[in-house]
C-alpha cells in the first residue's frame, strides 16, 4: 500500500505527472474572475467563497481521469489486480494520492487566492477548514467516477457528467461553510453536514469503486 502511494506521488511530481495542473487551473480561475466581474470590491467579497469553491471543484475534476487511465493503458492495473493488495485498498490509496497531489495544494493555496477576491476577514479560516474537510470527498467521489469509466477511450466527458451531480452536495455545504464564515454567521450545521459527507463517502465509496473496477477489468 505504501509502495503504491509513494509510487503515485513520485510519478505525479516527475515530468508529465500533472502535479501542478489543478493548482494552475485554480490560480487562473481566481485571477480571471475579478477581471470579468469588474472592480466592485463589495460584489467580489460577496461571491468570493462560492467562486473559490467552484474553482477548487473544477480543478479537482480536471485531473480525475488520470487516476486510473494511465495505469489501465500500461497494464499496471491488471497486474495490481493480481497483486496481494485488496482492490478496496488500491482505490483508497489512489484516492489518497489524488488528494495529496491535487486537493491538498488547493487547500493551501485557497487562502492566498482569497486575497484576489477580497474575501472578508473571518472567511479565510472557514474557507481553509471547509476545503480541508471537503476536498477529500471530491477525491473519493472522483475515484469512483474514474473507476466507472476506466476502460473507455476519452471517458473524461462521461465521467464529468457522472461525477458532477455527486459533487453537488459537497459544493453546497462546503461553499455554505465558507460563506457563513465570511459573513460571521454560525457555521456549525453546514460544517457538520460537510464532515458527514466526507466521512461517509470515504467509508463507503471505496467498496463501490473496487466493485466497478473489477467489472471493468474483465
Amino acid at each position: 500500500m505504501i509502495a503504491l502511494l509513494t509510487r503515485d506521488l513520485r510519478l505525479a511530481v516527475r515530468a508529465g505527472g500533472g502535479f501542478g495542473l489543478g493548482l494552475a487551473f485554480f490560480l487562473i480561475v481566481t485571477v480571471l474572475v475579478p477581471f470579468a466581474v469588474g472592480p466592485q470590491t463589495g460584489l467580489l467579497t460577496q461571491i468570493a467563497p462560492g467562486v473559490l469553491w467552484i474553482g477548487a471543484l473544477l480543478a479537482c475534476l480536471l485531473s480525475l481521469d488520470r487516476i486510473f487511465a494511465l495505469d489501465w493503458e500500461d497494464g499496471s492495473l491488471d497486474l495490481l489486480a493480481t497483486a496481494p493488495l485488496p482492490m478496496e485498498g488500491i482505490v483508497s490509496v489512489k484516492a489518497l494520492a489524488h488528494w495529496i497531489t491535487t486537493g491538498l495544494p488547493l487547500v493551501l493555496a485557497a487562502p492566498l487566492l482569497g486575497v484576489l477576491l477580497n474575501l472578508a476577514g473571518p472567511g479565510y479560516l472557514w474557507l481553509f477548514v471547509s476545503l480541508a474537510l471537503g476536498t477529500p470527498a471530491l477525491s473519493v467521489i472522483g475515484t469512483f467516477g474514474a473507476a466507472l469509466t476506466v476502460g473507455l477511450k476519452r471517458g473524461g466527458l462521461l465521467m464529468s457528467l457522472l461525477v458532477l451531480p455527486l459533487y453537488v452536495p459537497t459544493l453546497i455545504f462546503g461553499a455554505e461553510v465558507a460563506r457563513r464564515g465570511a459573513e460571521g454567521l454560525a457555521v456549525q450545521t453546514p460544517l457538520l453536514m460537510l464532515a458527514g459527507i466526507s466521512f461517509g463517502v470515504t467509508a463507503l465509496l471505496p467498496f463501490a469503486s473496487a466493485a466497478v473496477l473489477r467489472i471493468n477489468l474483465r
Partner: protein
Amino acid sequence: MDLTASNLMVARGGVPVLEGVSFALAPGRALVLRGPNGAGKTTLLRTVAGLQPALQGEVTGAGERIAYAGHVDGLKTMLSVGENLDFWARVFGNSGIDAALVAFNLVALQDRMAGTLSAGQKRRLGLARLMVTGRSVWVLDEPTVSLDTDSVALFAGAVRAHLGQGGSALMATHIDLGIPEADVFDVAPYRAKPRAAVQDEAFL
C-alpha cells in the same frame, strides 16, 4: 499443489470462445498453450489469473499463487528500471531485485528511465517483474514478443530456474522457447460452439 482447470468455459466480450477446457499443472512443470490467433489463449490465461470469471467450470490452486504477465508490461515510463522493479517487489511484500536484474541482463540499465528503453528491453524488465513477485505459478501471455534470440534464451533460463525451485509456468506462445520438457496444450479442439453472446454482464 497443482493448478487445475476443470471443464472451463471462457468468454471474450460475452461470446464464449473456449469450452470444456481441462488441464492440470504440477509444481516443476511448464505448460505451453498453442492455438491460432483469436482462439482464446489470452482469455483463458486471464480467467486462470482471476481477472475475469469463467462462465462454467472452475480453476483451483490459483488465486494468490499467480504472477500474471500480459501483453503490456505495466511499466511506468517516468520511473527508472530499478524503481519499477522495486515497486513491484514491495507490492508483493518482497525485497531485493538484484537476482532479477542479473537474470534478465538489466544491471547496466538499472538507472535508466523505463521510457527510454527499447521494446525488447522493456519486455525483459516486464519479465524480470515475475521474479520479484515470489509467486509460484507464472501465467505468461506471449512472453517472447519483441525479444531477440539471446533474450529468449535468458527467459528460457529464468523459467527453467523457476521450475527447478518447484514453481510452474503456464504460457501462451507461438514460437519454440527452447524448453523441451514443457508440455504442449493445443486449445484449438476446445473452440466453443457458436452461440449468442451472454447478456448478463453488468457492463459490456
